[in-house]
């Protein structure tokens, strides 16, 4: 579906991503994990063409990403980033309808169709935002805005979702419901998701593939049990951790082992 081959991303002299290869298939929920500055966001941004790799290439459905028109990419790949404060008042519904843009043809002067509205409302229901459609984005809390951003990404009906720290501003309940929703889309609708996150436990709980980055290098990739080991994590995160099994789900549970100063 989506593949990165030997991708290098340099910002001037600084090497942000070094020779990383990654493959994303339908049904995969991949979490990219690493310390700050490990290159996670840069890699994610390269996956939809927002950043051009200095070397290496990204392939979408077998063809180079650069061979697609921007709108064609927008139909296949949707992005969820940190929500930003808006300069002008925009309602939740209008914001989510923006996700239908990749599907707009030259026909109706760019006005949304009935189908676009249906999809928007459907997505608002899925993300438990149906009562918010007329609210203004700037009136919502950070967490609520984040859900709207997800709703917009789902409205594009793209098969691949790229999420950059989607749960950063959410409370525990919403973190769980957001990732559960993404997980459902992957399982039931054969979508793929790539999530950059600091929260390793969430990654362990929801993702079926983990990619560990350190200083731009890919240290390990595989399923959570393979990759989330004390050894690998301590090296990548530069902090000692303990890994046991979550009592209910059996997924790896990571606890930092702080060295307390007395």
């Amino acid at each position: 579906m989506l593949e990165a081959r030997n991708v290098n991303i340099n910002y001037g002299m600084r090497q942000a991503v070094v020779n990383v290869s990654l493959r994303v298939s339908p049904g995969d929920m991949t979490a990219i994990v690493g310390a700050n500055g490990a290159g996670k966001s840069s890699l994610l941004r390269a996956l939809n063409g927002a950043i051009q790799p200095s070397r290496g290439e990204i392939f979408l459905d077998g063809k180079p990403l650069n061979s697609y028109a921007r709108r064609a990419i927008g139909r296949r790949i949707a992005v969820v980033t940190q929500e930003a404060l808006l300069a002008f008042p925009v309602s939740v519904l209008e914001y989510v309808l923006g996700g239908r843009y990749p599907w707009s043809g030259p026909g109706t002067w760019g006005w949304e169709s009935e189908r676009d509205l249906e999809i928007a409302f459907e997505v608002l229901r899925e993300t438990e935002l149906d009562n918010f459609s007329a609210r203004l984005m700037n009136e919502l809390s950070g967490g609520e805005r984040q859900r709207v951003v997800l709703a917009r990404a789902l409205a594009t009906t793209a098969g691949i979702l790229l999420l950059d720290e989607p749960t950063a501003n959410l409370d525990l309940a919403h973190q769980a419901s957001m990732l559960t929703l993404v997980r459902e889309h992957c399982d039931e609708r054969a979508k793929a998701a790539v999530i950059v996150t600091h929260d390793i436990n969430l990654a362990a709980e929801f993702a079926n593939r983990i990619v560990l980055l350190k200083s731009g290098h890919l240290i390990a990739a595989g399923n959570p049990h393979e990759v989330l080991t004390e050894e690998l994590l301590s090296e990548v995160l530069e902090i000692k951790v303990l890994v046991d099994a979550h009592p209910l789900s059996g997924a790896p549970r990571i606890t930092p082992a702080h060295e307390l100063r007395r």
């Binding site: 028109a69 927008g74 980033t81 925009v90 209008e94 007329a134």
Partner: protein, 356 residues
């Protein structure tokens, strides 16, 4: 269908308005608003045609207008000449200037994500003025050089402001205003400098022109104005949906499939054309691109698909009104229309600021 968690979502308040579509801009709403504004514009044109240092009787003026001057009832031939040859072209010029500046202002505000972005305040009008002046001083014989150089000046100023405003994290509103002020004042000094190269008689008429002067509505340039206004506003309206997305942020727009670079360039070109031609023909009329889009946005919607055409129509009315005031308040002498738009616009702008 997916089954998100069935427990109650922990929202803070249950908003009573559910599935509400009324606030959105739709095609129907846009056509209705534009229709209403067109009707208003027609009324204003008719009334403006009768007002002036020579007041014309309404019914006869109407008959003359609708028959293109063929049948003019009780109007004297002088009155007919005033109406058809002087006032009407001037009103038409005012309409094109108002439409151009308002539509350009609405587009800049959307593109630069800044409610204060306006051709005058950003120094773009001054850039066009510099271009016009250079054409006047060096290529006086060829009238067509003025709109062309004005367009070049406007585009140059636009790109300069844009480059200056773009910090590492994108163009913050403060940086943009600062960049605009810098470019505007710099160009003002260039204008003053070029003025000193002119002889005394030209300086006076030129200064008047600089403040906005619609009395030079020669027929040749009028057609340039009409064509460029229609072309420019159409081009901007065509990009309106992309402008909506750009208003959310360049990154967002890019991810959703907007070709940001291309759209930005097209909008800059179209807006520069509109501002350039307006300034070349009528000097620097300020505040139109600020106040009119704001009024439209506040009363209807922030959706550019609606605000751009609506601002064009409302802007046309606004400048016609301002120009009518300019030529009637101290008749038979005239005030520069730019002074009127500033006198109306600045307090209105302060009021708008306080309402936020």
């Amino acid at each position: 269908m997916s089954s998100s968690l069935n427990k109650e979502a922990p929202t803070i308040s249950r908003n009573a308005v559910s599935l509400d579509r009324s606030a959105r801009a739709t095609l129907r709403k846009t056509l209705f608003v534009c229709g209403a504004l067109t009707v208003m514009l027609i009324f204003i044109v008719i009334i403006a045609a009768t007002l002036g240092s020579e007041r014309l009787p309404l019914v006869d003026a109407l008959r003359a207008l609708f028959t293109g001057g063929a049948s003019s009832g009780a109007l004297t031939s002088t009155q007919r000449a005033i109406l058809i040859d002087i006032r009407l072209p001037r009103i038409l010029l005012a309409a094109t200037v108002g439409a151009s500046l308002a539509a350009a202002g609405a587009s800049y505000q959307a593109l630069l994500r800044n409610a204060l972005a306006e051709p005058f305040l950003l120094g773009i009008s001054n850039g066009a003025a510099v271009g016009t002046m250079v054409a006047l001083v060096f290529f006086d014989a060829n009238e067509w050089t003025r709109p062309v150089m004005a367009f070049a000046g406007a585009l140059g100023a636009t790109l300069l402001v844009y480059r200056l405003a773009r910090g590492r994290a994108g163009a913050s509103p403060e940086r943009l205003i600062l960049a605009g002020v810098i470019v505007m004042t710099f160009q003002s000094s260039v204008i003053v400098f070029i003025t000193t190269l002119m002889d005394a008689t030209r300086i006076r008429s030129f200064t008047f022109w600089l403040l906005g002067d619609l009395s030079q509505a020669a027929s040749g340039s009028l057609w340039i104005a009409v064509v460029s206004t229609i072309a420019g506003v159409a081009a901007l309206t065509f990009r309106a949906r992309q402008l909506n997305l750009l208003m959310l942020g360049e990154r967002d727009a890019f991810d959703l499939g907007v070709e940001v670079e291309r759209v930005r360039l097209q909008v800059f070109l179209a807006a520069s054309l509109l501002v350039g031609v307006s300034v070349a023909l009528s000097g620097s009329v300020g505040y139109v691109g600020l106040v009119v889009p704001h009024l439209v946005r506040m009363s209807t919607s922030g959706d550019s698909r609606l605000t751009i055409p609506a601002a064009a129509l409302a802007g046309a009315s606004f400048v016609i009104v301002a120009d009518t005031l300019a030529r009637t308040v101290i008749a038979p002498r005239e005030l520069p229309v730019g002074a009127i738009t500033a006198l109306i616009g600045a307090p209105l702008f302060i009021y708008l600021l306080k309402r936020r």
